[in-house]
Amino acid sequence: MSILEVKDLYKNFGKTQVLRGISFSMQQGEVLSVIGSSGSGKTTLLRCLTSLERADGGSITVGGKVVFDPAAGVNLSKEEARANQLQFGMVFQQFNLFPQYSVLDNVTLASRLHAKERADYRENKKEILAQIEEHAKELLDRVGLLQKAENYPCQLSGGQQQRVAIARALAMKPAILCFDEPTSALDPELTGEVLSVIRSLAAQKTTMIIVTHEMGFARDVSDTVLFMEEGRVAVKGAPDYVFGEGATPRMRSFIGAVTNYG
């Protein structure tokens, strides 16, 4: 059974049709890269999946549960919507760390707030908080920033901030981790450290959807590459296929432009 199944997803902004029938599915542990020229709808697709935006039509099924399908009258309750929200993690292009909290608090904040809703919170407050902190420290260690736990975001480089953002997203144990151009806001010399964290997550079979302009990276980290064109899936398949015989003329010129540019 696939972890995510998207069928015929539509999204308009006013009169602009941004997504025009996107369909794909992915398996647990799979890494899916989404590439495509500017304005093709990549960000919008991620935002519809992560409930930051509501699609206009189509369906989304996560782990066998239909979470979006207006035509079939699917309407999640508040609790269900929140549970579904947590199935998806999101790493933003602009990091969006919380500036007033230390690195450690950035990673633990949401978990601590969630823990307050647990029935046994008052009884076991100490142990629960200790567990959350320990988990956060493990994650910071995984992104190589344990020694920065007490620093504030403004004291970190962009690459370090993005690695904290990855740890923060992982703290909620999402089923699917989404990245929207995680290195686009970084100086070129800082992209490597972020990409290598994502690589290590891929090696640990983390299910990920990665929107990126880093073609070489997409090619060697992904199980599947999806090329979007004007709100549609133009090509989808294994990287060798998509970058090889599967490539449409437009995709070839796009890749040429991106790689020459980079």
Binding site: L52, F98, P99, Q100, L109, M172
Partner: protein, 233 residues
């Protein structure tokens, strides 16, 4: 004479402080209400699609709460506080109602006036927080309320401390307007010495009180700003 004057001025300063403190106490919460009111999106959106070719589609939003709040803020910020004071004190009489007590009238005028100024500061502060902060809260499964109180609020406070400091120091000096409807604050008491004894120096002496108090407030706001200096937002 010096001690007599000092004592009398202190009495007037007590009234000045009372107006100051009560105005802050009520104007800050009312300012928040007005700020949220003017940001309210409650209402209807009328879509009007383009008729001619090349004409962009546009829609008109009708948001009564927001419009009302913005109208009130426009009127209050666009007219002198002294005029508002006179209207609130004498206005009811013109309409055949009984007058408010002088002190109450002063408070009402000051609270409304300062609430409007504060509301604009609050609104600016809240709207200046990047949308990404709310979105980051949302994708981490935080509720809107949690995101506001745990993520956004302190960033807003950091941004509004300097303009609030300015406004509050202006309030210290604005309290002297209360004397136009004969509320005996600091300046009024000093002026009494001109009328009764022909003495000017008590009036100049009031500056010491204002300076000491606003100096104290500047120190306080400087302290808060430094406390919030540890992060950039």
């Amino acid at each position: 004479m010096f001690w007599q004057v000092t004592f009398s001025l202190l009495e007037g300063f007590g009234m000045t402080l009372t107006i100051f403190a009560l105005t802050l106490l009520f104007a800050i919460p009312l300012g928040l209400v007005i700020a949220f009111g003017s940001m309210s999106r409650l209402g209807i959106v009328v879509h009007r699609f383009a008729g001619g070719a090349g004409e962009a589609p546009h829609s008109i939003a009708i948001r009564p709460i927001s419009s009302l709040c913005k109208f009130i803020v426009w009127v209050i910020r666009g007219t002198p506080l002294m005029l508002q004071l006179i209207v609130i004190y004498y206005g009811p009489g013109l309409l055949g109602f009984s007058l408010l007590p002088r002190f109450t009238a002063v408070l009402v005028a000051f609270v409304i006036n300062y609430a409007c100024y504060f509301s604009e500061i609050f609104r600016g502060g809240i709207e200046s927080i990047p949308h990404g902060q709310y979105e980051a809260g949302q994708v981490l499964g935080m509720t809107r309320t949690q995101t506001f109180f745990h993520v956004v609020l302190l960033q807003v406070i950091k941004r509004i401390v300097p303009p609030m400091g300015n406004e509050i120091i202006t309030l210290v000096k604005d309290t002297s307007l209360a004397r136009v409807i004969a509320v005996y604050e600091l300046i009024w008491n000093a002026q009494a010495y001109i009328k009764m004894h022909g003495l000017l120096w008590p009036l100049l002496y009031t500056a010491v009180f204002y300076l000491l108090f606003s100096g104290l407030l500047s120190l306080l706001f400087g302290y808060i700003e430094r406390k919030l200096d540890y992060f950039k937002a």
